[in-house]
């Protein structure tokens, strides 16, 4: 068994064929970014899942904490007027 430091964890993002944004698909360990991309190709795109890979060190990601969920997201709950379904459009106008 090695006493070497463990390789850093990288989060992997893949963009699929159809012009969608990169999406988080999972994570893996690698010594550097170049190897992380090569490993991500083998681990996460064995079936044509993507056309582009991003990797980012997990330790470089800042995340909101579960405890902040209320203060961060509750204010949006009361703003129903931000959704198109809030407004009634006369039926005779058809689609808007």
């Amino acid at each position: 068994m090695t006493d070497k430091k463990e390789w850093p964890l990288w989060e992997v993002f893949i963009r699929s064929q159809h012009g969608l944004a990169h999406r988080h698909v999972g994570s893996l360990h690698a010594p550097d970014a170049e190897m992380a991309i090569m490993n991500a190709r083998d681990v996460y795109t064995r079936r044509n899942e993507g056309v582009s890979i991003w990797v980012v060190k997990a330790s470089d990601i800042s995340a909101s904490s579960p405890g902040e969920k209320g203060p961060l997201f509750d204010p949006a709950n009361s703003k129903v007027y931000r959704h198109p379904t809030f407004y009634e459009i006369p039926e005779e106008l058809g689609h808007m």
Binding site: E34, V43, R46
Partner: protein
């Protein structure tokens, strides 16, 4: 299953009165099918049980490469070889998805590797059986992956987010594993009498170990009850085993092969197949380390790890050199 007889560390299923307010809130979220995510509060026993279960599952994927890898160089055609290579590579991938899911619970990859290589960690009993002929590769895909799917499909709905997401990826890929196995068995079953005999022999040897994969009856198990309460186990062992038998027997009949169980018969009243007693002594022997291949599997695993050390060292050295160079350039 790929994780068998996972202990929860509890002596009875925790009742609501025994729970702290935090734990009650946690259980309510689980009951409402809200996923638990890594940074959220969770009971220590839930966290530990999940680490045990997910890592056992991961170790099974990694050790599971060995029985099949045994036939890569001897696959009967180039096409079968390419298929088998792809399948074994998938198993490595599945192991990696699962290790990452386990790591979100606070265990490190090195610890997990150490547990596997030292023999401390368990993996599924099924991978301690040898693959004696090419037909065994067909039988493994059909039966072993078939049994695994039975368990993995419901686990896609389990309460822990990262585990559930890993299961979704795995299930998407697993269906190919079972189909290619049945396809290989079909070729043999429709081949020469010798080939058909090979297929029958493989079924004879893999049938009972496949039924054992689901683990002993857990109708009275506290651990299973607690795991089900936490929704990290969805169905009982007997339930899944019955489902597997019901699904697989007609597939064997279609191939013209005989399931090696004289007590097997359709029970119209129950709407299920009745089947014979499982030799649980054999199961306990295998998980105690005395199966046909336990020692060989571990030896091969440790050897691969040790002989790969120079590759990991080289990757480390290269990464360090590159980092030093770009630092020098920036200065």
């Amino acid at each position: 299953m790929y994780a068998q007889m996972v202990k929860t560390g509890v002596e009875h299923v925790r009742s609501k009165d025994e729970m702290s307010p935090e734990e009650q809130a946690f259980q309510e979220r689980v009951d409402a099918d809200i996923k638990i995510e890594p940074k959220e509060w969770m009971p220590e026993a839930y966290r530990k049980t999940l680490i045990r279960q997910i890592s056992q599952h991961a170790h099974s994927e990694i050790i599971g490469m060995q029985p099949e890898g045994n036939w890569i160089t001897r696959a009967p055609t180039l096409e079968r070889k390419a298929i088998l290579l792809a399948k074994v590579q998938d198993e490595a991938g599945h192991g990696l998805y699962l290790y990452c899911a386990a790591e979100t619970l606070g265990v490190s990859r090195d610890e997990l590797m150490e547990q596997l290589n030292s023999g401390k960690a368990k993996y599924s009993s099924i991978f301690n059986y040898p693959t004696l002929t090419w037909a065994d590769i067909g039988a493994i895909g059909w039966l072993v992956d078939g049994a695994a799917i039975m368990n993995q499909v419901p686990l896609q709905r389990c309460s822990y987010g990262p585990y559930s997401r890993a299961m979704i990826r795995i299930c998407k890929e697993e269906s190919f594993h079972q189909r290619q196995g049945y396809d290989a068995m079909t070729k043999l079953a429709r081949g020469t009498p010798e080939q058909k005999q090979m297929a029958q022999d493989a079924l004879n040897r893999w049938w009972w170990p496949s039924l054992m994969m689901f683990g002993p009856s857990d109708a009275d198990s506290v651990h299973s009850a607690q795991s089900m309460r936490w929704k990290i186990k969805i169905n009982s062992n007997d339930e899944l085993r019955q489902k597997f038998v019901d699904q697989t027997v007609p597939q064997a009949e279609y191939l013209g092969l005989t399931v090696p169980d004289p007590d097997l018969k359709w029970n119209a009243e129950r709407g299920h197949y009745d089947f014979g007693e499982i030799d649980w002594d054999e199961f306990y022997q295998v998980i105690a380390g005395n199966g046909p291949c336990n020692r060989q599997r571990l030896r091969t695993r440790v050897k691969a790890y040790e002989e790969g050390q120079w590759v990991r060292d080289a990757a480390d050295a290269y990464a360090a050199k590159k980092a030093a160079r770009s630092k020098a350039k920036a200065a």
